[in-house]
């Protein structure tokens, strides 16, 4: 089939500006979601370095953790935590889209699936925190 196509030289091609993601709230939130993985990766690097200090003995480990308690590092961890929470919530929202849940003939609403994921996440986080405090105490 030789369909009629417009003459290429007469078409006007618009270019997407580099700031396209600032033009709409949903695009901006998408970029934040993507950016969150960078902060989580940075945190993991710091965490690996912290674990590595264990191999150098207790003094090195304590010196490193003391360094992490400086205001700059605390701010870094707060920012990472906020991004991690945002990333996790968007992950659960995405999961509800990707994996539809059925109860018999009925489709469970996406909001319910997301909410159940978040509740399960909160319960597991709490359990880990309690375990941590118990072991520490």
């Amino acid at each position: 089939m030789s369909g009629t196509r417009p003459e290429q030289s007469k078409l006007y091609h618009r270019k997407m500006p580099a700031t396209w993601w600032l033009k709409k709230q949903s695009y901006f939130l998408f970029m934040l979601r993507e950016l969150s993985s960078v902060f989580i990766a940075l945190f993991l690097v710091v965490y690996l370095v912290q674990i590595y200090q264990l191999t150098k003995g207790p003094d090195a480990y304590i010196a490193f953790t003391q360094k992490l308690s400086s205001p700059g590092w605390i701010l870094f961890h707060v920012v990472v935590l906020l991004f991690a929470v945002y990333h996790s919530i968007t992950w659960f929202q995405s999961s509800a889209v990707v994996l539809p849940v059925r109860l018999g003939e009925r489709l469970v609403p996406r909001q319910t699936v997301t909410a159940l994921h978040i509740v399960a996440w909160a319960v597991v986080s709490l359990a880990v925190l309690i375990l941590f405090l118990a072991l520490k105490g």
């Binding site: 007469k10 006007y12 949903s26 990707v98 539809p100 003939e105």
Partner: protein, 247 residues
Amino acid sequence: MSEPTITLNVTRYRPGKDSAPTVQSYPVPYREDWVVLDALNHIKDQVDGTLSYRWSCRMGVCGSCGMMVNGVPKLTCAAFLRDYYPRPIRVEPLANFPIIRDLVIDISDFLDKLKSVKPWIIRKEEKPVTEGEYRQTPQELEAFHQFTQCINCMLCYAACPVYGLEPKFLGPAAIALGYRYNMDSRDQGKEQRAVIGNHDGIWDCTFVGECSVVCPKDVDPAAAIQRSKVDTTKNWFQSILMPWGQR
């Protein structure tokens, strides 16, 4: 008392004359029951017959009248002036597509992509008509029904930044329609739609999700793409772990 008016700022581009699109303002009568398409038709009929745009059914079925209305992809037959009045309305051609003239875009790329996913039922062997239809249960129909609602209006392509940045991307509607036939219990042509699982298919999608937000038919192409990713990954693992189990 003079009749209330609303201003439409419309993109104009005359190929061969203009080097870039310009904006032309048209004051049109404001009527509560008018949609943007009515206002464009008023301009075309009463003010400026040179304005070009596509439209047909005026009832959200044909998918021809998609344009950017204040920067959002919309069917102009469903975008009421009253939702914008008294502020002016910016009407532009659908984003991410080349402009042919004024508000008319070149849809060839979309049509090529649509054809590439073979959006029809493929049988390994057609049975004779005398043997009757291919039957399906309501549950089997429900697995893909919402994806049959696509009217090829291309609003999802205009909303998709991935398509804007990477024109090779197969795009939301074409993938959703390919998925629709892959999920159809009567279809046996999944292997012939391998283009969906290619790099320029589902794997280009970063799940921005705007395609599903702007869809006037609630089709949810984002879900089709993400579910296709899961299916393709499962099939890949199966083919690696159980190469003898290929159906």
